[in-house]
Symmetry: C4
Subunit: 281 residues, 4 copies
Amino acid sequence: MESSSTRSPLQERLYDIIFGFDSVAGRRFDLVLIVLILSSVLVVLLDSVSSIPLHYHRYFFWLEMLFTLFFTVEYLVRIYCSPKPREYILSFYGVIDFLSIVPVYLSFFFPAAQGMLLLRILRFFRILRVLRLMRYLSEANLLMRSLKASRRKILIFMVAICALTLIYGSLMYAVEGPENGFTSIPKSVYWAIVTITTVGYGDISPATPLGQALASLVMITGFAIISVPTGIVTAELANEMRKERSSLMCNHCERGGHDRNAKFCKHCGVELEDDTLVELS
Amino acid sequence: MESSSTRSPLQERLYDIIFGFDSVAGRRFDLVLIVLILSSVLVVLLDSVSSIPLHYHRYFFWLEMLFTLFFTVEYLVRIYCSPKPREYILSFYGVIDFLSIVPVYLSFFFPAAQGMLLLRILRFFRILRVLRLMRYLSEANLLMRSLKASRRKILIFMVAICALTLIYGSLMYAVEGPENGFTSIPKSVYWAIVTITTVGYGDISPATPLGQALASLVMITGFAIISVPTGIVTAELANEMRKERSSLMCNHCERGGHDRNAKFCKHCGVELEDDTLVELS
Amino acid sequence: MESSSTRSPLQERLYDIIFGFDSVAGRRFDLVLIVLILSSVLVVLLDSVSSIPLHYHRYFFWLEMLFTLFFTVEYLVRIYCSPKPREYILSFYGVIDFLSIVPVYLSFFFPAAQGMLLLRILRFFRILRVLRLMRYLSEANLLMRSLKASRRKILIFMVAICALTLIYGSLMYAVEGPENGFTSIPKSVYWAIVTITTVGYGDISPATPLGQALASLVMITGFAIISVPTGIVTAELANEMRKERSSLMCNHCERGGHDRNAKFCKHCGVELEDDTLVELS
Amino acid sequence: MESSSTRSPLQERLYDIIFGFDSVAGRRFDLVLIVLILSSVLVVLLDSVSSIPLHYHRYFFWLEMLFTLFFTVEYLVRIYCSPKPREYILSFYGVIDFLSIVPVYLSFFFPAAQGMLLLRILRFFRILRVLRLMRYLSEANLLMRSLKASRRKILIFMVAICALTLIYGSLMYAVEGPENGFTSIPKSVYWAIVTITTVGYGDISPATPLGQALASLVMITGFAIISVPTGIVTAELANEMRKERSSLMCNHCERGGHDRNAKFCKHCGVELEDDTLVELS
């Protein structure tokens, strides 16, 4: 938050509004931004529905232009008022902000290209900008910390799942064969993933008794395996919640583990006021 | 429970029977009510089955009239005997009580209207009245408290899921396109929700190898993500159960929720000795 | 285990073999019984496969007769050697034992009746007899205790799920209507159950945009709700496991919480031998 | 790690590189191995896609030969440098290493045999070799320990699930019958497994009202049951994580796993003071 000495008061003020969330103006700006992002996403959604009459699509086009213009101005102001513009541009949210406006401008130059469609999808990454505003909620931080703490365990689990689906998929390819829809090993691996995650589209499903027996084994494995990521996240989350609860320390006897609504220290009996109960980290 | 001084003994007596659950009469009334609500729901269910011969539907009609009459009388008596009628009418269960009788009366005036059907569905909200009786069960309260405590975390999680399905859905729209059933972005988002929640109808499913690879990613993400709400609820529930178990009450201020190792009451500050800290149940 | 004074040594001996699991003979009998039950179930399974040539079915018939004969003898011996025959006959496993042999005898008298098929399915309850042998495993007891402790919570949850599926199902019936497969409210409720449990057959699936939006809501609700029973069982199970761990008491200082492999009391330092470490319950 | 006295320095050096992971060379070797294993799996995957032009398959063949040659050399070197070759060959990973090379050599002698396909699938077990490298990650060990600790509970649960699906499957066979796709009891059991694990392909689904009611029961049972393995793994995982966190070591006998409130070492009985109980990490 330390600003360089050359920053103008306008920059300071804009920074507070756009990046901050303490001031009234900052919170109002956040609210307007959320509404605009959601409206813009809604327009992109509706624009893709071909059953909507053609003349509506023209309105959608102009709305999209308007939103993009606003987001462009916002992006430039963010660069202008940021104390470290370079850092902002290269940050996760800086890249998202850029990617969500650039496809519209590019579509002027390459209007009908095939690859354009995928590029235009990038506009959808706007929705990720909503996540930025959730940073301020302590619950979101708790969830993020739990997920971060279980990151490596989940990764190892994913590697094990991939190995398992490869083996199950190739076995099914050998057992059922192309005549029952298992046309190649990659497709059989796709089937194994569909099955082990308990999604079960039914676009490919075993037809032979042996295949159905093997599929039953895959399903029961999946049933048991589904418990592992849940176990990981639950254990980490319980851990994080326990930490949060016990991070309030009595300033008098310097012992922790107080509830947030406690009025007296349960260890030394001193009355707990706002300056006596200290949050640890 | 404080009644206004102008209430008649009849009102008091009816209040005990209809709202209370301590007296024998009150519990009998609750039982009769549950049977009537479930019967009425059964009649509505059967009434919608077109394969049942026509003359049965006439019986269903008269049964429905009878149930509605009873529920109307009950509703009026509830208003009559409630100490604060206004509060009851505007309460969650007051509105449910009203909504579950009004469609039948409205159907006399607008018998064949199209919107009528949706209105008649409101009769089904009767089933929610059963939930009212579950309030008295301590387990239901424990569950409700856990869900309430995890409310904000689940909401944040839902927002993240929505953002994710929007991005996955639009990517799939770009990859698979209308020729494989992904006719619009909203429909693709519907597919993403069907997939990430592991429901997997199979009414829309990816046909191209790239689409299947992307779908596999969506499924594995869903598999990992399914663990988050479970983790939240489990951690909160374990927390609530632990609290309930340790319902140690301070004998001085008669407030509970103390830890077993507490030396001073956190509410009134009195020193907790073996005879001051009373275990509740 | 207290036997009546009039029991013969043969009864005692048979009781130890058939009901007990301490002696070598008792454990051998259990093993033979498991093999026979599983073989008998396998024969019933294969007997239902119509693609197996007809002359095999004759073998299956004779095998089935043989198994039934053995199970009948076993049932009679169980009655003979049980100290309280009446109690055994009326117990859960006594009824199962009876139901798994009677259909075969009945099929002689009413060979081709339609209701016979359902009756013959009763033979399958034999498989439940395997569960009896799992009683002796402490892990099975731990699981049963956890499930028993969470019984009421799960029941309340089930009632809530039923109310929810009734409401969602009737809403879908109003939105989608018979032309999209939602032919009656009971069928729509069936769809809601298929969806909320994330099974998702796809035999009925929403076709209108409004229906798909409502279905998305149902799925996301189901996604959040799936966490509740898991949370209940996990919290109870963690509780039971904690209890089991902390139920070893040092006989010297009479304080608990020891690990089963502890060699010295962590509170008073006394050496823990088999007679010092006492299991509490 | 104790090597026999007759081992040459070359054997020692190779052992460090191939089996070890402490030296720089050892870690580089592991990295090369992972890349080769994954490339080899990719080649097998692509080789099965019939839409890839024929002349590519010739390249795949030669790549496969190359990989197999490398893995063969690696296998022989592993035997050569292992201090106990016999033990390595018969170990889990030794068998995997052997099975992943032998099918390629066998395919020279029996080129077009039908059973060959299944044998060639064995090449896929190569992917399991990646798991070997995960042993060194403490998170993987934690997960493995939790799964090992819950092994017996999960097994009992699986037996209960099998009994349940047998009963539900045979009931459905009696209710729905062959005309609705439930052609035999084994197939109905397959349907019950598909349903209870919430996979729900929809290749077989109930058509009669009674069948749909029974299926609803199966699904709701499955919904409640899905919580049991999750509960088991979560409780064990939380337990293991708690143990790991409290890795307090007795300074006297240098063994860990003490509780923070322990006053005496549970292994050697020495009194634990602040300087005796050392936190490990």
